[in-house]
């Protein structure tokens, strides 16, 4: 209760949405950690789902390009996280740990899917759904058009590059967090990010 009071005062004085969001997330992360230490894994899962369901669903849907499949995989992500709760070593933030699981699940799903279908057919399906999900935008360089093009081109990228760009710019994970998830150096993450951005720009220019 004391913590919630401090949180409310901070929100009232700062009036900053991002600060509020981050403070709330840190509070929930603390709840998750203490539930894990106490061995109350069900409570930890409840808070985990409540805090991260939208961002995980968004990540999975955009990784896989299909809403229904993305939602299913997001469920699998939380179930996998539930099983892994006793082994959460708290060396990283809850967010980093969860997105490591989400990335792994999404990449595995994509690998399984590619085994069953031809790549170009997969890309066509994904692009078609991406277009269907977004309202058609007029030609030109307005933000909505750009958004659609980015979304379409994103799904033509290598899945690892796609995951990297989404983790950094959509989910907002830090470069250090991504390095921890991938098990590579920070400099390597920067290099891969720069390459992924270049590839995405090339795809967009090619598609245009």
């Amino acid at each position: 209760m004391v913590y919630d009071a401090v949180l409310l005062i901070h929100i009232a004085t700062s009036g900053n949405y991002m600060v509020m969001k981050q403070a709330r997330q840190e509070h929930d992360d603390d709840l998750i950690r203490s539930a894990i230490v106490d061995g109350d894994f069900r409570r930890a899962l409840e808070v985990l789902v409540r805090t991260y369901q939208h961002v995980v669903v968004g990540f999975c849907v955009n990784m896989l390009g299909k809403t229904e499949q993305g939602e299913e995989v997001a469920q699998e992500v939380f179930l996998a996280a539930y099983k892994a709760l006793p082994h959460f070593r708290q060396q990283s933030s809850v967010r980093t740990w969860l997105f490591a699981i989400a990335r792994k699940q999404c990449l595995q799903t994509l690998r399984n899917r590619l085994r069953r279908q031809r790549l170009d057919q997969v890309q066509q399906d994904v692009i078609a759904e991406a277009v269907h999900r977004q309202p058609s935008a007029p030609l030109g360089e307005d933000p909505e058009t750009l958004f659609v093009r980015v979304q379409q081109s994103l799904h033509t990228l290598d899945k690892a590059e796609r995951a990297l760009l989404m983790m950094r710019y959509d989910t907002g994970l830090s470069i250090a967090d991504i390095a921890h998830i991938l098990g590579i150096s920070v400099a390597s993450v920067r290099r891969h990010l720069a390459q992924a951005l270049r590839n995405l720009r090339e795809k967009m220019h090619y598609d245009a």
Binding site: R42, L45, G58, E71, K83, P86, L146, R190, R191
Partner: protein
Amino acid sequence: MTPEELKRQEDSARDIIDALARLSRHTQAPPHFAATVMAQAEQSPPPHRGLRAWFRLWLQWPASPGLHLATVAFVILALCGAVPQYTAWINAYRLDVPSEAIHEAQVQERLWHKNFACATQLDHNSHNYAAIAGERVSVVVWTCPSGDVLVTLESPDQRSRERYVWLELSHHRTAQGFLMPWVRQAFAEDLRPGTPLLTAQAARVLCQKWLPNRMIKRRVQLANGQCRDEIINPRDGTVVERRGAPCDPGC
């Protein structure tokens, strides 16, 4: 790649990055999502914290880098501080003695090396030799030019020589000069007042050599003329083996 180089790339693709940042905002979890996940979790067996996970939980590195550094420093300090103990254990294993007896074992072995030639010359006819016998123990003393003294403790019937002990002394003294005050004091219960020195505790070393297993082989001629080989552990002075031998200096 440096942070500045990445920033330049990002600045040139700022519009694309802004679009990427909006990806998930258009997507929300369906209303039933949380309930579905909890229902599925309910159907699966609850996660179990095994022994390894418990162990890891209580040994987790602290999250703060400062505490992490302090913990690492502390562990390194503790490990380094225990090096003398590790050395003691290794030496105890190597010398085959209890860890608390390592120092004495090393001293005894060193004195055997130092006075090896002198010990080979042990002869009851020498003025460096003296013996005294009590009810339960006989003490034989052999002094060396270095000042060190080899004390042999043996059972009175000479059927078993029990122990060789080197004493490291600063200057040479005669066997009798050493034996009378010191030994009588040390073995006061076994040596009645007035017990004479015995020269008939005859013993003569015919030959002596180091064995490959760091033991000493010694051939001794006794008062009755018989000879015997003794295998001595120089670290604790015990005679680990004795057997009859011909009376020739062929160790």
